[in-house]
Amino acid sequence: MKVPNYTTRMILAYLLLALLAGILGVGGIYRIRGSLQQMQEKSLDNKRQVKLALDLHEAVEQRRKAETFYLNIRSQNYARAWDRADKQFSQVLDTLRRTQENKSSYPVLASIGRANSKVRQNWFVVRANSSVKATDNHAPQDISRLESLIDGYTEANSLATGVVERNALRETNLTLFGNLLFAGLVLGLAAVMAIYLSKTLRKPLADLLTATQRIAQGQLGHHIDLDRTDEIGALAAAFNEMSSELHRKDIQIMGQIGQLLKTKSLLESYSYDLEKKNKEMESFIYSVSHDLKAPLIAIQGFLTMFADEFSSTLSTKAGFYLGRVKANSEHMQTLIRQLLELSRAGQTVKQFTSVSTRQIVQQVIDDLHLQIEAKNAEILVLGDWPTVAGEPIRIRQALTNLVDNALHYSNPGVPIKIEIFVKEVDGAWRWHVKDNGIGIDPSFQAKVFEMFERLTDSHEKNANGTGIGLAIVKKIAESHGGEAGVESKLGKGSTFYFEISSKLNVSGKANVEVQV
């Protein structure tokens, strides 16, 4: 059979206690009620006995009276009355005898019974004597003896009643004592149960609490030592399982964290490698450009000398060829210069300084003044000129490229008009260069910032572009946490812009991630 589990045991124990208490209460009540009933019965019985005694006494009196009348008057009427009284007396006596017959078990009542039979015996003697109706001398004697017997009888009877009452009282006391004893027993049982509860419930609960606290403190895997098959045991087992699971999970998580850290350091090393490669690439471009420069400079030098010394002796054709060599070598020089600029533009900005936008704009206009004058262009400088954080050389470079572009891609026959202004847009300073030039077809607008992308236009000879200028602008914007873009309508002009983040810190390192 399955062992009753803990809860069942506890419920059974409580039911038992309740049953015992119920029995105690009901039994006590019944016993006390019985005692009281007995007492009442005895009391009633006693009253009946006393009445019988009184009846007897009355009967004796009647009979004696009738006898006296008869003896004195000797009338038949009195004789009959005497007989009647005699019968009455006999009846009473019989009744008395009957009532006593089933009371013989009581020792005190037994003595009463004995007294009664003695009364009867004597009375029979008296009656025998009196029936002769000639023994006048004996009659009063007998009667007085009878009366004293009756008195004794009455006394014994009342004595018996007292005994009965005492007995009833004793029984009640006994019942009360028994009940008290019983109550003590129930209390004792309750105490045992309390101890049992404490041992079987409080201690494991306290253990559980301690274990839970240990787990909370990080001792994952801590176990409770509790060998029980009931719910408490099941709870402890579940707790142990949970603790083990936590421990397992903890190890797993630690492993995963380790894995993550490994991945992180791997990524960092990749990132480092990438940065290194990037730097290598840039230093490669820088170095190659420089190396390309040296022979080009020699070519240009000799070209100059050739032109200086022999131009007068050259045919027109030879002069034209020489001019093309010179123009192409200059174009190549521009290409190389811009490649170098591009490589510098992509480098991470080491430190941002305070940049006066007005000063930058003025420098750019000064740098380009020859071209501006040659093209007879109108430059309008508009709006406010805040001081921002950035790298002045690169910002100047970007603005120069945009203004240079605006000067190149002009509408033939239309006076060039260029507007320069700086506006704050969505957390960035946006530098605008607006022209009234040829504009850009919408399908090309996204491509113009890509490297070596150039507008194919009929004025390419004048434009002299390399396809790097806008790529440089884009890189400079990105190195300042911003973007570069264009809004344009074909034939109506373009507005180019580049942004530098307004979240950059003067005097500190860049606090935005800058794409390179």
């Binding site: 420089h290 040296a294 020699a298």
Partner: protein
């Protein structure tokens, strides 16, 4: 301007050496100029310090210094000259193909007296040489420096 002027050209490219010499020949006082050439940075320092094989070398009155050089680059040579109490008064003109702002800033930061980008435009070269008053004052008005 009858005094002899010794110019030290530090340059590794033969064509550039030739072209630079040609440019200097056009200078008004070319007859008085002696151009000494060394082809790397270490030689340049040795020349100034008259170390083997430059024992009899004169102290140059002007140094034309390229940046991209073998063994020791132009910045190192410049720093060596301008950090040396005996030589720091010798005018140094950077003569380089780089027009990068960083290179220009670094040159002036290290104490160069002028900066010229190649290809050499003779007008620019002569203007800048004249813009070094210190140089002309010294070689024209002061007696030759003692060793």
């Amino acid at each position: 301007m009858s005094q002899a002027v010794d110019v030290l050209l530090v340059e590794d490219n033969d064509d550039h050496i030739f072209l630079t010499k040609k440019a200097l020949e056009r200078f008004s006082d070319a007859a008085n100029l002696t151009v000494h050439v060394v082809k790397d940075g270490v030689q340049a320092i040795d020349f100034i310090n008259k170390k083997t094989p430059h024992e009899g070398a004169p102290t140059p009155d002007l140094i034309l210094l390229d940046i991209k050089l073998p063994n020791k680059n132009g910045f190192e040579v410049l720093a060596g000259i301008k950090g040396d109490e005996r030589h720091r008064r010798i005018p140094v003109v950077m003569l380089t193909s780089s027009d990068a702002d960083v290179d220009i800033e670094q040159s002036y930061g290290l104490g160069s007296n002028s900066y010229i980008t190649k290809p050499i435009k003779t007008d620019e070269l002569f203007k800048k040489l004249r813009d070094i008053p210190h140089y002309w004052i010294e070689i024209n008005t002061l007696p030759p420096k003692s060793e």
